[in-house]
């Protein structure tokens, strides 16, 4: 099947290095300490952060840093076929772990000992790149909750189909059987914090594809920064400053 046609356009009309449309909204869940909705094309996720708060399970409490917990769930209606079991399956457990480790590396946990930070991510619509959208949403939600972080964590995926590196795969491109590289990136510190890949990729192409994902992450970081600035301006305005 042709994923990049001879004119250089993908299945949804994008160019190989073009990301899907981004949209973010802060403060979607009123009861949470911080929350955000993040959309990458048709993938839509909502993240809520509760914390820092008292540790529920005393045996997990740490005296010198905060405990970070994360749960990733997909809504029944998020995928094309109805999912019967929204939580607890292996893929969800793995992605919960991945998001937790990525965010934990970035939060200044030593500033909040003996406390717990819960990150809940719910996928409302899945069209490829849910992992990345969740990390981006979690970053926004953590910022909205005012939790101190080293840097913004952004994430983007890239692949290699029809001998072309492609940025930000959607579901069709992801299920094509080609490689799917997910990168989590700290833009200011210029460090890669998450790197996952499946399928096969020639060694000389790996660097290229990974670099493309990193560029995607940087673009997302710029967007996230804009959204946060706009949100702060709104808050300032509402406070009458």
């Amino acid at each position: 099947m042709e994923f990049v046609n001879p004119e250089g356009l993908r299945l949804d009309g994008r160019r190989p290095m073009e990301m899907r449309q981004l949209r973010a909204e802060i403060g979607a869940v009123a009861r949470a300490d911080g929350s955000a909705v993040f959309e990458m094309g048709n993938t839509k996720v909502i993240a809520a952060v509760y914390g820092p708060r008292e540790v529920q399970n005393k045996s997990q409490q740490s005296n010198d840093q905060a405990l970070v917990r994360c749960e990733y769930t997909m809504a029944n209606f998020s995928t094309g076929d109805r999912k019967r079991k929204p939580k607890g399956d292996r893929r969800s457990t793995e992605i919960s772990l991945v998001i937790r480790q990525t965010m934990e590396a970035c939060i200044l946990t030593h500033l909040m000992p003996r406390s717990q930070i819960d990150i809940y991510v719910q996928v409302l619509q899945a069209d490829g790149g849910t992992r990345s959208a969740c990390i981006n949403a979690a970053t926004l939600a953590l910022a909205d909750a005012g939790i101190p972080m080293r840097d913004l964590v952004t994430s983007c995926s890239s692949g290699y189909l029809n001998s072309t590196p492609l940025l930000d795969l959607n579901y069709l491109e992801d299920s094509a059987g080609g490689p799917d590289v997910t990168v989590g990136f700290l833009p200011k510190l210029d460090r890669v914090t998450l790197l996952q890949m499946d399928a096969k990729l020639p060694v000389d192409i790996v660097e290229n594809v990974m670099q493309l994902a990193i560029e995607g992450c940087k673009a997302i970081a710029t967007y996230i920064r804009e959204v946060l600035l706009e949100n702060t301006k709104q808050l300032e305005y509402r406070r009458g400053l």
């Binding site: 979607a28 869940v29 009123a30 009861r31 949470a32 929350s35 048709n42 909502i46 993240a47 809520a48 509760y50 749960e71 769930t73 809504a75 029944n76 209606f77 995928t79 094309g80 109805r82 929204p86 939580k87 607890g88 819960d118 809940y120 991510v121 719910q122 409302l124 619509q125």
Partner: protein, 289 residues
């Protein structure tokens, strides 16, 4: 949920006694209701309803299936509620299962009638394609995103809006079959039938606090209710279902009074919902153009 102090409890209760609640509402006023339909493109119908800070999403998916042997002329509808951890940290893992099950059963009772399908708010015979062989199975999935009390009313409103937004593809039976054979069907991509929701009821939950009852309780108010009765009323003013929650017993005359209050309020809520839903549908239609 942060606990309430004794002073706060007295304040809330005293306010309700004087017909002024903490957010300025009267005992029988609803919070502002926002409805958005068609938010999930891959579902047959979907809606998002916000009542104050309570936010729920409902989606309807239609799949072809076999009708049950007991009711060969009826389609099937299943309602599932999922309480997301995003709404409450206590819903994490299996914490929300009990509440989800309670809400699902209450909704099924109010919208789907008895086990024989009698008195259902949704007309199941309209879902049949080939009697005894093929019918539409509707799966209504709802997700609670933000919880600030009155989940049942919000869920019922979201399901009503999602059903109004539901378009079921037209099915043409291409080859007749005899006996047990499944007929071949051709599912149209172009023609759709809008679901008829005129008989779908709304649910009004009346929460008793002290000696009075309030409608559309916030989670603060719900936290020290003595009991709550959820009544499902349809457009004709008929009662379609009843659920009582909470430990304290209710005098039978109080229950009858609650029912008449609910019937009265249902007219207002129904008309409000209808106008919100048609506004949302119109907006969705405009966007498509």
């Amino acid at each position: 949920m942060v606990g309430l102090s004794l002073g706060e409890k007295h304040f809330i209760k005293g306010g309700i006694d004087q017909n002024i609640r903490s957010d300025g509402r009267k005992r029988d006023s609803y919070r502002p209701i926002f409805v958005e339909t068609g938010i999930i493109p891959q579902a047959n119908g979907s809606a998002r309803v916000r009542m104050g800070a309570t936010e729920v999403i409902a989606s309807v998916k239609a799949e072809l299936g076999r009708p049950s042997a007991l009711h060969p002329d009826k389609g099937k509808v299943a309602i599932f509620v999922d309480c997301s951890a995003v709404a409450e940290p206590t819903f994490e893992g299996r914490g929300g299962e009990e509440l989800s099950a309670e809400l699902s059963v209450a909704l099924e009772r109010c919208l789907l009638g008895g086990t024989s399908g009698a008195g259902a708010g949704i007309d199941l015979t309209s879902l049949i394609v080939a009697e005894g062989k093929i019918c539409w199975d509707l799966y209504i999935d709802s997700l609670v995103i933000s919880s600030d009390g009155n989940l049942l009313d919000a869920l019922a409103a979201a399901i009503k809006a999602a059903l109004a937004n539901t378009a079921i593809p037209k099915v043409n039976i291409s080859a007749a079959a005899s006996g047990d054979e499944q007929p071949e069907v051709d599912i149209s991509d172009e023609e759709f039938l809008q679901f008829d929701t005129s008989a779908v009821p709304v649910i009004i939950t009346l929460t008793q606090v002290g000696r009075h009852y309030i409608v559309d309780a916030t989670s603060e108010e719900e936290s020290h209710m003595s009991s709550a009765v959820s009544i499902s009323v349809n457009r004709k003013g008929h009662i379609c279902g009843l659920t009582k929650r909470g430990g304290e017993g209710l005098d039978p005359s109080v229950v009858s009074d609650m029912i008449s209050v609910a019937q009265h309020l249902s007219e207002l809520l129904m008309s409000r919902l209808d106008s919100e839903i048609s506004a949302a549908e119109a907006e969705g239609g405009d966007e498509e153009l």
